[in-house]
């Protein structure tokens, strides 16, 4: 086994095929669409309305198969929900608690401090329900893929009919953003899958952009404060650099 691992490393391995997982990258063309995200750039910030819509898309489209294990209901405050709204959202879920004083585990409505419950009890159940493929947890997906948000958006809008030259096996779907162009996830968004309360576009592109925005927040919830501190830090350190340099010039003036 060790020799095998080493041999594969030396030849810089192609992915080891997992049952039902996407086929190994075979050089298919990959399309990456670049979007103008509000969270990009030095002064980047999240768009709360878009994140709330994206959360709705997640709940109604993605959450049937994809967990978000690292997100607690209380975190939804970042999306602009108030305490009562978060309590109401949490209360729609049942979570296991216990043991009570009789030693029994019991189910109770979720509270804001609870993590979002997963759709499946474990990975095996997830695979059994998804043709052998494991729907990945989405908490970090926007950071766990190269070009995170652009990639997720491209993937969601990237479902097409396969070119005639390509044979797509049963249970696989053609996608022009996915490495190898064959993905085990059926097209999740067709447009108008979700009814928005605020009248925003429910086109494939609109829904995909919103859920991507939400997923980026989930992966990097501290992005706004990070960039805010960053601007102050860079400003301060620039002044510090200039002052140090001027002081250096002055002190060194008598050396030569």
């Amino acid at each position: 086994m060790r020799k095998l691992i080493f041999a594969t490393m030396v030849s810089l391995m192609s992915a080891v095929g997992m049952p039902g997982a996407a086929l190994a990258a075979s050089g298919g063309d990959v399309t990456l669409l670049k979007n103008d995200w509000s969270f990009a750039g030095i002064f980047g910030h999240y768009n709360k309305a878009s994140m709330q819509r994206g959360f709705q898309v997640y709940l109604e489209v993605c959450a049937g198969c994809h967990s978000m294990k690292y997100i607690a209901f209380r975190n939804l405050a970042d999306l602009g929900y108030n305490e009562a709204e978060i309590k109401a959202i949490a209360a729609e879920y049942e979570v296991q608690d216990g043991p009570d004083e009789d030693g029994e585990m019991f189910m109770r409505p979720a509270r804001p401090a609870d993590l979002m419950p997963s759709p499946y009890r474990n990975d095996n159940e997830a695979r059994a329900n998804n043709n052998g493929a494991l729907p990945p947890d989405l908490s970090l997906i926007a950071k766990a893929r190269a070009h995170g948000p652009d990639y997720l958006y491209s993937l969601l809008v990237g479902y097409q009919d396969a070119p005639a030259s390509m044979e797509v096996p049963d249970g696989m779907y053609y996608n022009n953003a996915y490495s190898g162009n064959m993905i085990a996830m059926p097209q999740p968004i067709y447009g108008d899958d979700v009814e928005y309360a605020d009248g925003a576009s429910t086109s494939v592109e609109g829904l995909s952009a919103d859920v991507t925005h939400f997923l980026m927040w989930a992966a990097e919830p501290k992005l706004e404060v990070r960039k805010r501190i960053g601007v102050a830090a860079v400003f301060f350190l620039s002044i510090f650099l200039i002052m140090s340099y001027l002081a250096k010039r002055r002190i060194w003036a008598d050396v030569y």
Binding site: V10, L12, M13, M18, A146, S238, K248
Partner: protein, 408 residues
């Protein structure tokens, strides 16, 4: 040791019994430093600063980290999401690791260019190589701790290298792992050692500085200081000059931490470790890529491992490979060309280490690897004999005065 020079009686009392103030005074005011050090001499203090940042942030991270295969990834996410400013501490730790290597690589190339490894500074140089080796081990083990996909598979690949050792290789690997695969015992021992080794580095840094202070810094001209006219006190001249470097370093670090915190990492490490699923491409952290390229350039496993470690080992004997009596590349026109070729070669190896080991990349890796060893084993010794060096100035103050005269 004259305790009387301090006017404060408390300082005098302490210094008489514990001469820390005399030591500080010696370092800051008496220790003679060549007056012509350029900004390339900033990287020593910057490396020291990096080590301090790593230890401070690391100790804080360890307070919230859990070294267990089932909880490590989750505990890092807790740090990122729930610990107050945990994201900041972790991003500083991650990015300073990369900056530490940038600084140390520049420090090493500075030493190569100006011949800082030559007599009487051979041990100073060798201690530096020891620090570099300890840094690599520490960084490697630190990268395993978040227990992401690259953590796990990087650990698997690198520890497997030791199985190339004849006869005892397999036993050595089992010993490193604490079992028969990279698993919980591997993670816990890596955590323990990752916490220990920075302090070993700090110890060797002390020796490095003691050795430095024996003969003082080398300088861009590479000739010994000839007296007071060639030197200035460390404080305030080099404290303020180092301050400029520190400000620049912190500014660039802040830009990385706050605006591109994951640019020098790999996205796969945000996927929890999965021993059943190998990533499409296993790549080490960027600062290991040149050595990774050397490893893969050799078709034989043991040969690759030997060359990879040999690439570092060769630095230990560098003072005896380069026999040219002239230190600084400024007076070595041919060496200077080969220095820059080596620099390009190292960058090329870094690039090739990130590319898949197939097609033209394999050939290029072999050429670049061969050149690396050719430089140290053939070119440097030959240059020591055949190179016509330029005449050296009589003293540091002479050319310094001359050049400033021209510039003005």
């Amino acid at each position: 040791m004259s305790a009387a020079k301090f006017s404060n009686p408390v300082v005098r009392w302490i210094d008489h019994r514990l001469p820390v103030f005399s030591m500080l005074d010696h370092t800051a005011n008496e220790y003679p430093t060549p007056k012509n050090l350029n900004y390339m001499w900033n990287f020593g203090s910057l490396a020291g600063l990096s080590l301090v940042i790593m230890i401070v942030t690391g100790v804080v991270l360890a307070m919230s980290y859990t070294a267990h295969v089932d909880y490590a990834f989750e505990s890092v996410e807790r740090i990122m999401r729930d610990v107050n400013h945990g994201w900041l501490i972790r991003y500083i730790h991650m990015n300073t690791a990369s900056f530490f290597f940038i600084v140390v690589y520049l420090h090493i190339f500075r030493g190569l260019y100006y011949g800082s490894y030559k007599a009487p500074r051979e041990l100073l140089w060798i201690l530096g190589v020891v620090i570099f080796l300890l840094m690599m081990a520490t960084a490697f083990m630190g990268y395993v701790l978040p227990w992401g996909q690259m953590s796990f598979w990087g650990a698997t690949v690198i520890t497997n290298l030791f199985s190339a050792i004849p006869f005892v290789g397999e036993s050595v690997v089992t010993f490193l792992w604490g079992g028969f695969s990279v698993d919980n015992p591997t993670l816990t021992r890596f955590f323990s050692l990752h916490y220990l080794m920075p302090f070993l580095i700090a110890g060797v840094v002390v020796l490095h500085i003691v050795a430095l202070h024996r003969f003082g810094s080398n300088n861009p001209i590479g000739i010994d200081t000839k007296g007071r006219q060639d030197t200035i006190s460390f404080h305030p001249y080099y404290t303020i000059k180092d301050m400029v470097g520190i400000a620049m370093f912190l500014l660039l670090l802040a830009i990385a931490v706050f605006f591109f915190p994951n640019a020098m990492g790999h996205p796969d490490n945000y996927i929890p470790a999965n021993p059943m699923q190998t990533p499409a491409h296993i790549v080490p952290e960027w600062y290991f890529l040149p050595f990774y390229a050397i490893l893969r350039a050799v078709p034989d496993k043991l040969g690759g491992v030997l060359l990879m470690f040999g690439a570092i080992a060769i630095l230990f004997i560098l003072p005896w490979l380069d026999r040219s009596p002239v230190r600084s590349a400024r007076f070595r026109p041919v060496f200077r060309i080969f220095f820059w070729l080596l620099f390009i070669d190292a960058l090329a190896l870094g690039y090739l280490g990130a590319m898949p080991a197939e097609g033209i990349y394999v050939t290029l890796s072999r050429v670049a690897t061969a050149w690396y060893f050719l430089h140290f084993l053939v070119i440097l010794p030959m240059l020591g004999v055949f190179e016509n060096t330029k005449p050296l100035p009589k003293s540091i103050s002479e050319p310094v005065l001359a050049t400033t005269g021209e510039a003005a």
